[in-house]
Amino acid sequence: MSWLSKALSSSIGRKIIMAVTGLFLCSFLVIHLVGNLQLFKNDGGAAFNIYSHFMGTNPVIRTIEWVLVAGFVFHIYESIMLTSRNKTARGAQGYAVNHNEQNSPWQSRNMGLLGTIILIFLLVHLYNFFYRARFGELDPDINNNDDLYTLVVSSFQQWWYVVLYVLAQAALAFHLIHGFKSAFQTLGLTHRKYTPFITYFGYAFSIIVCAGFAAMPLYFFFKQF
């Protein structure tokens, strides 16, 4: 093994990959949220469909898309490697009584559970919107773009879809509350001047981004009545 692959497969190396991919995925969330805010524009989906057409066809975006896939793949792969390592390290014999709720926050101990919920959501989400927009047949809208907007609106008028989305965003918010500041800690980016800001920013980021995503299904669900 080269020095680089050795370094990246060490315990700290794997954490560093988790942190870098995690922050990269945070940047994706921002782009995804900002773009999708066009759903709220009251134009029958014209602006949103122009945007989704651009995102689905622009060669730069299509290239970056593969980087995004790699980001998810590495984040998930490293989480599996780290979890299996940590489970082995904990040993076969567990504690009969363990009150770790008294020394650490719930979301920090359950990142794997939260991540799994997010992954299940992601697969449903990709199938419903991404797969059908890219490989399915959508009717054209007034500008002759694929009418993804109508698919989004009709999906969000079903209650179970809204429940799934809102729950997934809650899981994502808890995942980010731990993950955002944790990434900076793992990269060694701590300083008594800046760490308090990073912590508060991480809270605000997690709640604002996830509330923004959750607002979309809720908006279209309640708009139909």
Binding site: S11, G94, Q185, T190
Partner: protein, 261 residues
């Protein structure tokens, strides 16, 4: 006997203690009753009473590690009622007093649990993995000779203080015991950041962190996921900031050291 304090009432307790004959054998929790325990006793003195009773009955006493009994040596490692060193923050087991418990309580006492800390017997665990991590780089090599003058190497007060805070680690292993991942990173980071902060530590700075992290991984400790249980349970208050320093030192060493292995 309730000690010298007339208000301290003696307590009767049920102890649920992990008993295990040897490293190879299986263990189990066994219940014992102890009577007339003074609230002024330390937790270890209470266990001494239990062992006296067991000896009188001709039973095998409970093996547990202890040495200085003043919170310095880091030997008295017990997982008490689901917490490393018991419920009291910032204390070792020897400094935990029975007044923190109430008459009639059931107290569950387990050894540190981690694959890298095998149980020798009962509550006594083998923490030599920590020694091997220190041997891998947790030192400063100096030539022997006359004692150097105390102020020969100037060190700013705030740096000396931060290095000292990291140096207070007693190597008890509560961080590993409390960690969901059985990670030793708080322990390793305390030594790495202590020596990285000081001028004497600069010569071996990069090889130290590379070798100590490699040894830590080899011993089978887990990877930190920044949960914070370690720092919360640490009897001497080693800060999580040290783990960030360790990560930074590791990244820097791997990126810039001349070691290609």
């Amino acid at each position: 006997m309730a000690g010298n304090n007339p208000n301290a009432k003696p307590m009767n307790l049920t102890l649920r203690v992990w008993r295990q004959r040897s490293r190879q054998s299986d263990g189990q929790l066994v219940d014992y009753q102890v009577k007339d325990i003074s609230p002024e006793m330390s937790f270890l003195e209470m266990l001494d009473v239990l062992n006296e009773n067991l000896l009188h009955k001709g039973e095998e006493p409970v093996a547990f590690d202890h040495d200085c009994r003043e919170g310095i040596c880091g030997s008295c490692n017990l997982f008490i009622n689901g917490r490393a060193h018991g419920p009291e923050p910032g204390t070792t087991t020897c400094q935990l007093h029975m007044r923190k418990f109430s008459d009639g309580d059931t107290i569950v006492i387990e050894p540190w649990r981690a694959a890298a800390f095998p149980v020798n017997k009962d509550l006594s665990v083998d923490r030599s993995a920590f020694d091997r991590i220190i041997q891998a780089g947790g030192y400063v090599s100096v030539n022997t000779g006359g004692v150097p003058d105390a102020n020969e190497i100037p060190i700013p007060k705030n740096i000396a203080d931060r290095a000292f805070d990291a140096a207070t680690c007693i190597g008890c292993g509560a961080c590993v015991a409390a960690c969901k991942n059985a990670s030793a990173m708080l322990f390793v980071s305390a030594k790495v950041s202590q020596l990285a902060l000081l001028p004497q530590g600069q010569v071996e700075r990069k090889t130290r962190v590379e070798n100590m992290v490699a040894q830590m991984d080899k011993e089978g400790f887990g990877a930190c996921s920044n949960i914070g249980s370690c720092a919360a349970e640490c009897p001497v208050g080693i800060s999580l900031e040290n783990i960030a320093i360790l990560n930074r030192e590791f990244l820097n060493a791997k990126a810039t050291s001349n070691n290609l292995a």
